[in-house]
């Protein structure tokens, strides 16, 4: 095994698309930008491209740093780099910010070309299918006919799954991690509470808060706090915080008393300071709407009939938001279609967030699976 290291200094790029994008909702995006990053080198026959789909709050900055002084590397830096499981010595890796995002791709906080003002509430609602269409256009833009692999965790895993349905001939391998074929009622309920926190914030202004020079910070903060609870397992929270008191003794107040509260407030504040509330609303709605089986009388096997890819499906034992049972539904549908699929149920304590963690067995799975993917010679 070669020594692994960071991909180093990276820089985002912007692709501008002028061909209108018809959306599932019936609306049309006349033009849009997608911000993306690439790591590694596209080979001569363009057979080594791997696209990373991000989850709810993700973006295009998947690996590396923008400057040596950056405190944090990209959000999946532990996976991607020279000698890492997704080895940039072999693969050309693409990370992008989805449409509707708030990190550079066209979204609610972008300037509407006609009005000269932020889109705000006028920005359409998007679906996983819409994202996949826009991602395929980015692949076109980069001259890539077929991806060696599409990779995603959580909402990203849903996009990876959708790729195999929307563009079966354009994806050789699909890594569908900590995903589900649709949301449960409980999951939709969590999303609705998060949205209500945002929408009922007095500073939401129907989604056009930009004009008022305010952000619905309180709502977004509560939405993120709620989200965080569902991404962690009870055990992981117990192990990390337990009932530990911040000051060592009970104060009989509503200030932060428990370490757990301190953590949640910190996460909420941090997120509310850097994420756009309109984007959060749309990301959660895309999650709610995703249901490839819906058009096939609820039959996921029929929904996946077009798929041709070789699949790796991974779930995590302590993930109660997208439980292993949900991944097994995907696996069942793939088996029904006699597709090539391996399924791993990784023992992990971290809950849904486990897919981002550096677990030795989990990473060995990814490393060995990705190693089997055939790619052509270098450029």
């Amino acid at each position: 095994m070669s020594e692994s290291s960071s991909i180093g200094i990276v820089a985002p790029q912007i692709a501008h698309f002028t061909e209108p994008l018809p959306l599932k909702s019936g609306e049309v995006l006349p033009q849009y930008d997608l911000v993306y990053e690439t790591y590694g080198t596209l080979n001569a026959d363009k057979s080594n491209a791997v696209m990373i789909c991000h989850a709810l709050s993700g973006h295009h900055h998947v690996a590396g740093k923008y400057a040596d002084t950056d405190k944090h590397a990209g959000w999946w830096d532990n996976l991607i780099g020279p000698g890492k499981p997704l080895d940039t010595n072999r693969f050309f890796v693409i990370g992008l910010n989805n449409l509707g995002g708030c990190h550079g791709s066209t979204g609610p906080s972008s300037i509407h070309p006609q009005t000269g003002k932020p889109w705000g509430s006028a920005f359409p609602l998007l679906t996983v299918e819409d994202w996949v269409t826009s991602q395929a256009r980015l692949a076109d833009y980069l001259g890539i006919k077929q991806l060696a692999a599409i990779v995603g965790g959580s909402l990203g895993g849903m996009q990876a799954l959708q790729w195999t349905i929307s563009y079966p001939e354009r994806v050789r391998h699909a890594l569908v991690i900590a995903a589900a074929p649709n949301l449960t009622a409980q999951n939709i309920a969590f999303n609705e509470v998060a949205r209500q926190a945002i929408i009922t914030d007095p500073e939401f202004h129907g989604g056009d808060y930009y004009a008022h020079k305010v952000v619905p910070r309180r709502g977004l903060r509560i939405a993120r706090m709620l989200g965080h609870i569902t991404y962690l397992s009870d055990d992981a929270m117990g192990a990390k915080f337990g009932r530990k008191l911040r000051e060592g003794e009970i104060k009989y107040s509503f200030d932060v008393e428990f370490e757990m509260e301190s953590y949640l407030r910190y996460q909420g504040d941090k997120f509310a300071g850097e994420f756009d509330a309109n984007t959060y609303l749309r990301m959660t709605r895309a999650l709610d709407y995703f249901d490839p089986a819906l058009a096939h009388d609820g039959d996921l096997s029929r929904a996946l009939a077009p798929a041709q890819a070789d699949f790796l499906v991974i779930s995590f034992t302590s993930d109660w938001r997208f439980s292993p049972a949900r991944s097994r539904e995907i696996v069942k549908a793939l088996l029904d279609n006699e597709l090539s699929v391996s399924y791993a149920e990784v023992t992990a304590a971290h809950g849904h967030d486990a897919f981002l963690m550096q677990d030795a067995h989990y990473h060995a799975i990814l490393r060995n699976y990705l190693k089997k993917i055939k790619v052509g010679g270098p450029a």
């Binding site: 696996v331 088996l335 391996s342 399924y343 791993a344 060995n368 699976y369 089997k372």
Partner: protein, 206 residues
């Protein structure tokens, strides 16, 4: 179930078993291998008979070895049944040297014949004379096919050939073919006494 720690006497011997299993499988068949270990059997069947199929394995290390060896492998516990597989979706379902380590033995054999048109089951014969002899001498049997001490064995449902024959009759299972071996040699006379390894080719009785 800890079929994972099942020791094979040696690789060559396993290969010999594989060749015998292969005789009961048609070229190009769709195969499910339960407790597939590192995927060697499926790899062998794919190379020799161009079978298609999947392995099922619970243990992390074995699962990783199977997947790395190019076998499509589903991580799950056989004890929970085969609910992730459609009825009659496989030509053959194999349970090689694992039956004795399964808790829900009755359930898993029935599940094999639900999911597959046919099943192949192999297990160490507890009725083998060396095992009987060790019991008469007052100790739990330890042999090439049962290489464990009583305190560390994964085997929980050991049976004899006679037991399994009766099991098949009582569960409306037709024994299409049966092969009994000792040291790789077929045993035709007094197999329940002289045979150390039993191999069954099964289908649901009409």
């Amino acid at each position: 179930m800890s079929n994972t720690s099942i020791k094979f006497a040696d690789a060559a011997k396993s290969r010999h078993d594989f060749a015998l299993i292969a005789k009961w499988i048609k070229p190009g068949a769709k195969v499910l291998d339960l407790g597939c270990g590192d995927g060697t059997l499926l790899g062998y069947l794919r190379n020799t008979l161009q079978v298609r199929g999947y392995g099922v394995e619970k243990d992390d290390a074995n699962w990783l070895a199977s997947m790395s060896n190019g076998v499509d492998v589903i991580q799950m516990d056989l004890e929970a049944g085969l609910s992730g597989f459609e009825a009659k979706s496989f030509d053959v379902v194999i349970l090689s040297q694992t039956l004795q380590a399964v808790l829900n033995t009755e359930g898993i054999v029935q599940e094999m014949l639900r999911v597959g048109h046919e099943a192949i089951v192999t297990f160490p014969n507890f009725g083998y004379w060396r095992h009987r002899f060790q019991l008469i001498a007052g100790q739990m049997p330890v042999s090439k096919n049962l290489p464990y001490q009583w305190y560390d064995t994964p085997n929980v449902h050991l049976c004899t050939i006679k037991d399994f024959d009766e099991f098949c009759i009582n569960h409306h299972i037709e024994v299409m073919e049966r092969l009994v071996l000792t040291e790789q040699e077929p045993i035709n006379m007094m197999p329940n006494l002289r045979g150390s390894l039993a191999m069954y080719h099964l289908k649901p009785a009409e």
